[in-house]
Symmetry: C2
Subunit: 563 residues, 2 copies
């Protein structure tokens, strides 16, 4: 099995040729100096080199050996610590951090490209730095000056790693049920007690310290989510003493063995509050939204990695006669010549390429939302991020699993054995449909929380933007029609749901998200097609085998609306 090799040129193609990211970034004063395709391409190429040489080769052993727990300590798989030390010392975690915190101030989208590559190469390893930038942003926006002085640079540089401690045994999707308690101490700090589960990287030997961000309740807090505050608990205090936070065990999982999923017990651990009391979820949301985009990128990256493996195998292995070829009895054709295998490969390629366009566009809009001088542009960007992030997270993590499984199928029986590494992708990818908000919760987020609450004004504006973006080329008429049709459906059928029985919208949320995902893909494929010479096979696969689901989802929604 060969380790995954990033293809920097393909990422740069989407960024500059398809999305014209440099032109967009040039509009943002804070980032305009980096709106240089030469510079950004160089960063992406270097990232590809680092990922391919240092991170990718550790993936297999990360799965085979896994993170090991012993008496509260976690030993990471061979090579993981050295790779992490090389990673932060080379400055990779600080790409998009602010220069005043020691960061490089590059656009968010460059970090997005890096993380897509990292996840494709080694999902398990990448979990550890995956939450780092979110934790940095969370502290940057919500922590006191004192806390910032003590932690911000270490998180910006990645010298220390961070966790997000939300889930408890009885409180998974529903954070309002969190019971961990924080009791004020006389010195202004807090004593924090409780048990958190499913904490990725809660304990490990990659970095010399770990900064835990923990949701907990103050003694006088009201029940439910508004009673939650956010606290910081380091593994080691500044004086070198160890906090009262213990890793009780790590989970045995289906995959992702390179990432320790920890049960963390806090025993009156000394904690500092981050932001205001009762505003914990608010402070956490910065981190969670960033994490959702990264999980969507995981989906794109993992599917791409599976595709690369399957495609290489199909170009090399021969099996059976393919129809319409001239081979003789006793000879066999390359697997890639068989229609069923071509269909799998081209269909997954369609998902990867469109997903990349949508994900990079989202990362760009994050910067536009922050930095654009024009308020209307900032508003449109905020709308894009808010509405597209759950769609990307849900649809592309599902595809990483289902499409990864299709790529496994290309190997026949060899796909089921570990030797080729393809089954690891499928096992690893499965978790992304669950964490950072299950895919079903993303669907509720899109329809119930973000579409019905403003009479669909935001989503309709997004659809209108997509249509405008496609211009008037006749080839895109089908996509413009579909956008208009979905708009009508939303106005006439979905918006009236806001006044119906409360459970009705929940029955069509999943279909609604899928239909939105397919429309975004259709837009992305128009953009890709308008860029000379790109993937005719994948484009045809999209229209022939992916797009027909749109009609099916409308049918299903119709049944849920009338049923």
């Amino acid at each position: 099995m060969n380790a995954h090799q990033p293809r920097a040129a393909e990422h740069a193609f989407v960024l500059f040729d398809v999305l014209r990211a440099h032109e967009r970034l040039a509009e943002l004063p804070a980032l305009a100096e980096h709106a240089d395709t030469g510079l950004l391409t160089q960063v992406i190429e270097e990232a590809g080199k680092f990922v391919g040489e240092v991170i990718a080769p550790l993936n297999r052993e990360g799965d085979e050996v896994g993170a090991q727990w012993w008496d509260g300590a976690v030993t990471m798989p061979p090579g993981f610590r050295d790779a992490y030390q090389a990673f932060w010392q080379a400055g990779w975690p600080s790409l998009a951090s602010a220069p005043e915190d020691g960061g490089q101030g590059l656009p968010t989208v460059v970090e997005a490209v890096l993380h897509e590559m990292l996840n494709a190469a080694n999902h398990g390893w990448t979990m550890a730095p995956g939450l780092l930038h979110g934790a940095y942003e969370c502290l940057r926006h919500h922590a006191s000056d004192d806390l910032k002085a003590r932690y911000l640079e270490k998180l910006a540089s990645g010298e220390w790693l961070a966790t997000m401690c939300l889930t408890e045994p009885h409180a998974g999707s529903d954070l309002g049920l969190v019971r961990t308690r924080a009791t004020p101490l006389p010195d202004g700090r807090f004593a924090l007690s409780g048990t958190k589960i499913f904490i990725s990287g809660g304990e490990h030997d990659l970095s010399d310290n770990i900064v835990h961000l923990v949701l907990a309740r103050l003694p006088d807090a009201p029940p439910g989510p508004r009673g939650l505050s956010l606290f910081l608990v380091p593994k080691f205090h500044e004086d070198g003493s160890r906090s009262a936070v213990h890793c009780e065990r790590i989970e045995e999982k289906m995959g992702l063995h390179g990432s320790p999923t920890c049960v963390m017990r806090f025993d009156e651990a000394q904690a500092s509050i981050v932001g205001e009391p009762g505003k914990g979820l608010n402070a956490m949301f910065v981190m969670m939204n960033a994490a959702r985009l990264l999980v969507g990128l995981q989906g794109v990256g993992l599917l791409d990695a599976a595709w690369q493996k399957a495609n290489a195998y199909a170009q090399e292995r021969r099996q059976m006669r393919a129809p319409g070829t001239a081979s003789k009895a006793g000879e066999a054709d390359l697997i890639v010549l068989h229609p069923a295998m071509q269909r799998i490969l081209n269909t997954q390629r369609a998902w990867i390429d469109a997903g990349r366009v949508i994900a990079y566009r989202t990362a760009l809009e994050l910067d536009v939302q922050k930095h654009h001088p024009d308020a209307t542009q900032r508003e449109a960007a905020a709308r894009w991020c808010s509405l597209v992030t759950p769609v990307l997270k849900s649809a592309w993590t599902e595809q990483a699993f289902a499409g990864g499984s299709a790529c496994l199928q290309v190997f026949g029986g060899h796909g089921y054995v570990r030797e080729w590494g393809i089954e690891q992708h499928v096992r690893d990818a499965r978790v992304a449909m669950i964490y950072e908000g299950t895919n079903e919760i993303q669907a509720i987020d899109l329809l119930v929380r973000k579409t019905l609450t403003d009479g669909a004004a935001g989503l309709l504006a997004l659809l209108a933007d997509l249509a405008t973006d496609l211009g008037t080329q006749p080839e895109a008429q089908g996509t413009r029609d579909a956008l208009a049709r979905f708009g009508d459906f939303i106005r006439n059928r979905v918006v009236p749901l806001a006044g119906t029985t409360p459970d009705r919208p929940f029955w069509l949320a999943d279909d609604f998200l899928r239909a939105t995902a397919l429309l975004l893909m259709a837009w992305a494929w128009e953009r890709l097609a308008a860029t000379a010479g790109h993937g005719a096979d994948a484009r045809a696969a999209f229209w022939r085998w992916v797009w027909p689901e749109f009609e099916m989802r409308l049918t299903m929604m119709d049944a849920s609306l009338t049923g």
Copy 2:
């Protein structure tokens, strides 16, 4: 985690209430004495008890410990040998074997029920006896009297187990490429040399002997599949000496760790020919067809096992407020009350129930095909088995994986950890999409080999039979219309494919199989609905969330036909 518990009453319900199996069996003189619902129900209940008490509890450790290879020998997981010894000594392998071979002469469908239960409870363990009955039938129909005298009873009783040695490193789906050689010896036997891979149960300690059925080439054989002959090589000869057949290693796999997948090397092993030279594939097909039905039953059983787990969890675990319930802040509702979770559970239930109807009907038709006094009935039954088996194998193994993954989703993060056992179902189920002919090969089998070769006469007759079977009840009009519509589509669009470029049919084979599967499901749901009080939720789920794919597949086929 609780071990799976078969629900005998649900199996008996499909068999007698829905399919009226006893009436059908009463038409077959060879089996009429067993057409007794009391007797058959008792066998099914006993089977459920045995499976629940003896086989199911071994499933988890079978996965955790797995089969272990050492120096050519394979040690099975704890309890596996004892369970197997109890299994054959209780007579379970011989349920459907002929009385003259020491069997019990029960209908094939009873064995089907047993195997569905076994696979649901412990897929890994069940692989070992999975091929036994096929091997028995193969010898019964093709072996010489001398070979039969030496092996048939041992296989009928299950005292010895059997393998099917087809695949070689370069010859998986394409058996025509097999290179294993058999050289005649002066005494009428053969010396067999070559390496076979992916041999399930090639070596183990469950039974005292193992009978290998091996495809190989005689020295003067032509290239391709017509040059293949079938040979028998026992692990131990009658004199107790060991054959020159070695297990070189077992594969590390994604799942199914309880079943050793062996690389078997034959070094001039003494072999006996089974059937005529050059007719090896023909003899093997008996075994392969039986195996395909069993794999379809694995799909149904594995999905049912995953559903049972998910349903139990959803009835017990509380998380978030469900819409439309009266719970207060700080309280949570049962997972089963959330629409997205109900949708998953009801949809998978729809697949399980319909799959069971189709699978049991197929098992019944196998006996009708063999034993019915009326040639027309035998012919119709042969048509059913030939056309429905690939559909069942492909669509239900895919559903065991995709629907098993949906059941995993019901557990949220807990589904991804091993503790609850649901992730094992997903890992185990994945292989069934590959072995016994990949799902893509099943689709080619259905469309190219079985539909286009007779101008679709067989398939059109099957559709007509389904429509007739539904009678004239007004509720079934939609299904009758769909059957008629697919018939027209086949006549007008598919049949003309036979004269087109050779690769064209291959592009729509997968969609064609899916459309056929959905029509069979629609028929099964009409049958289920006509039986008082059965599963209204699952029925509604079928029409709302499963059936719309039918239209989508027609759209996709249309694009492949015109594209």
